[in-house]
Symmetry: C2
Subunit: 422 residues, 2 copies
């Protein structure tokens, strides 16, 4: 494969910026092997070049934006956030025919179309996978993976802080304020959590997703926004008694030439696909005319997940500048999987009191028993059985034990052993 | 946006082929608006040109492969399946510098590397999103979205028939044979279901995913395969009593220079992210060093989901042949979302016997009551409350009723109304 070098100029070196520097350092060889793209971060714009940044080479730092944008870079990554100076620097980069990758949801929600238009005019590409749901490739799914679908609706858990708070309130039965304090202590929630818990962060993300999904402009005021401050532990308990969980859902629907967008706490049936999304995780349920319902879930924020999304855009742009890449296999060893773990064993027997003989064999072979049951058949067509849930043990020992038990003659047929996966 | 025409030659017109023809006919305008790509299927290879194919133009059909491959097409879609003649036709297409999109998992599992290599040498692209998990963009996620990650493991529910059978056995407590017969009656399972229920279909898919994820060659014999024929309804019930569900899981792990691959029925904890994947749905849980755990789920097979995946590859290749595309918004109306539905209402009150006054207001306004409760506070700091779960009703009527109840003076604070989403 031909290797192409891609010089990346980085604007901003906060949480996600440092994550990007770390991930490029860690995985650039892997990326070159997979794609033929050799990435190099050539300059980094910071406000204070003197600040300590572990893992970041100090001689890459500059406080002059033009040194990043003009320094022979092929692509500019904007991770400053907020409206200005991010917007001006992106526009300047586009005007100089640099590809741009950004994680800036506030800017895209405010002014996405004019930035996309500027990129189109300059015939450069704009990547913004990291602007919504961190490492989950939902932008890519809407732009590419589902491009042949009419998207009828989106429903998402788009704010990790709200989901963390509601999960704690649900599972630990704590109050909103305690759950918020915990989220802040764990670093999910900002010191000023207003944007998160009042729903505005989710509304910005929903606007970006809906514009892609429905291929339409969404006025910001079209999104109805309700936060979660007024939800109590009692509400959650009352919902549970009715078979529901309370989740903060961002929902967009499109039907004909009409759409509706709303961010609000709702009651979801316990079996709903979004009901099981816990803690700070994000998820998006997309309904398309061809694919039906599809769910994407994972970590929606954080340094490395967001850096992963930035990197996917950078590599994507690099790959489509020129050559093509094919997967070339290295040679790995293979080994027998899962050589130990808990197991579920079932033995058909004439007499369930064979449980004594069976568990004796297992114990002799060093297999700890978590549960064991002698089961009499309830009907003539069913079999008497012995069932065992083991402690953690070697798979090979389980197989030896199955053979030993078979040889002992207490079985009436073939026993089975299924692995338990945690 | 500049419009580019892309002529597509189609090899095979079975379930997925007809789905592709239908989806292109239905959504080609939308695709052109989104991407600037104008798709046209110019020729279709079939075995019997006389057979009735509703929705397929008869004058596109031919029984001569060279008429498809050589007929001025830019890209060849292979949907014949199996090894030959699919392999020879793909090789012939690549040799003539046509891009190729295929859904052929058996061929890719057998010979994927030599086909990728041939595409690379010819500097054309090979798309195979539809080969694994139908409409779920998991190939794209591994090739692009997660390109910056070391992938540590994959765990998937990759065969819809097995998952359907296990779901029926779990939820309806039927036996394996009855569940299989139901899957066949519904068209999920083949007349000869061996490849599905013995795990070989899932093993082919796992091999394709693992080769992408670990960027390594996986020998077919490295995948240990166990099917689900030997699982009984009793096993599932016994697992449930222990807090587990039984799922047919395809698992691949990579650590250092060593990997393990296995397809087998396992016990998953009831709260596991794959435990809730029901019926014929597929899902893949990917663990990467940057993104952590991520789950993709949806319909893993079927005419339109698979056609959606084929189309995503076709459009992707077309977009990267030349120009760039930016989203251009049409103007849609917006309307207030969810104007009716069930609601959960909560009113803080001095005296819970206010339930009479509150439900009277609701009934007068035409809101049916599903459940209502007068709740006395359990502690001095808590509030007495009235809680109501309504029948389906207009949101505006709920808001009117909240105002009426507030005006009546029975409340001690502000009531809330949360929507119930089904």
């Amino acid at each position: 494969m031909v290797t192409r070098k891609l010089n990346v100029g980085l604007l901003g070196c906060g949480t996600v910026g440092r994550g990007l520097v770390e991930l490029v350092a860690r995985n650039h060889t892997l990326i070159r092997q997979r794609t033929g793209v050799e990435l190099a971060i050539t300059r980094i714009l910071v406000r204070d070049a003197g600040k300590e940044r572990p893992g970041v080479e100090r001689n890459l730092l500059t406080t002059h934006p033009e040194k990043v944008i003009d320094n022979g870079c092929d692509l500019v990554v904007e991770l400053i956030g907020g409206i200005e100076p991010a917007r001006a620097l992106i526009q300047r980069s586009l005007a100089r025919s640099k590809h741009v990758v950004t994680a800036n949801k506030a800017l895209l929600a405010l002014d996405g179309f004019s930035i996309m238009k500027a990129a189109e005019i300059q015939k450069v590409r704009l990547g913004f996978e990291a602007s919504v749901c961190g490492g989950i490739p939902i932008i890519r799914a809407l732009r590419n993976g589902l491009v042949g679908n009419q998207i009828h609706s989106l429903r998402g858990i788009l704010n990790g802080t709200c989901n963390y708070i509601l999960t704690r309130m649900t599972e630990d039965r704590v109050d909103f304020n305690d759950a918020l304090a915990e989220a802040q202590a764990k670093g999910f929630a900002e010191a000023d959590p207003t944007l998160d818990i009042d729903g505005h962060d989710a509304a910005q993300k929903l606007k970006i997703l809906a514009e892609l999904a429905f291929h339409a402009h969404v006025p910001a005021q079209a999104v109805l926004v309700e936060g979660i401050r007024h939800i109590t532990a009692d509400d959650i308990q009352a919902a549970r008694e009715l078979g529901y969980v309370i989740k903060h859902i961002a929902a967009a629907e499109c039907s004909g030439d009409c759409m509706s967008l709303q961010v609000h706490p709702v009651l979801l049936p316990g079996k709903h696909q979004l009901a099981g999304i816990r803690d700070e995780n994000n998820a998006v349920l997309v309904r398309g005319d061809a694919v039906g319902e599809m769910v994407f879930s994972g970590k929606g924020a954080g340094s490395l997940p967001s850096a992963s999304a930035v990197l996917s855009d950078v590599v994507d742009i690099a790959c489509h500048q020129g050559g093509f890449s094919a997967s070339q296999g290295k040679v790995l060893d293979t080994h027998a999987p899962d050589d130990h773990g808990k197991h579920y064993l079932r033995f058909p027997v004439d007499d369930p009191s064979a449980i004594a003989a069976i568990t004796t064999v297992l114990e002799r072979n060093g297999i700890g028993i978590a549960r064991a049951a002698a089961v009499w058949a309830k009907s003539a067509s069913a079999q008497n059985q012995v069932r065992v849930l083991t402690q953690d043990c070697l798979r090979s020992t389980v197989e030896t034990s199955l053979r030993d038990i078979s040889a002992s003659g207490v079985e009436k047929g073939q026993g089975i052993a299924l692995r338990v996966m945690d």
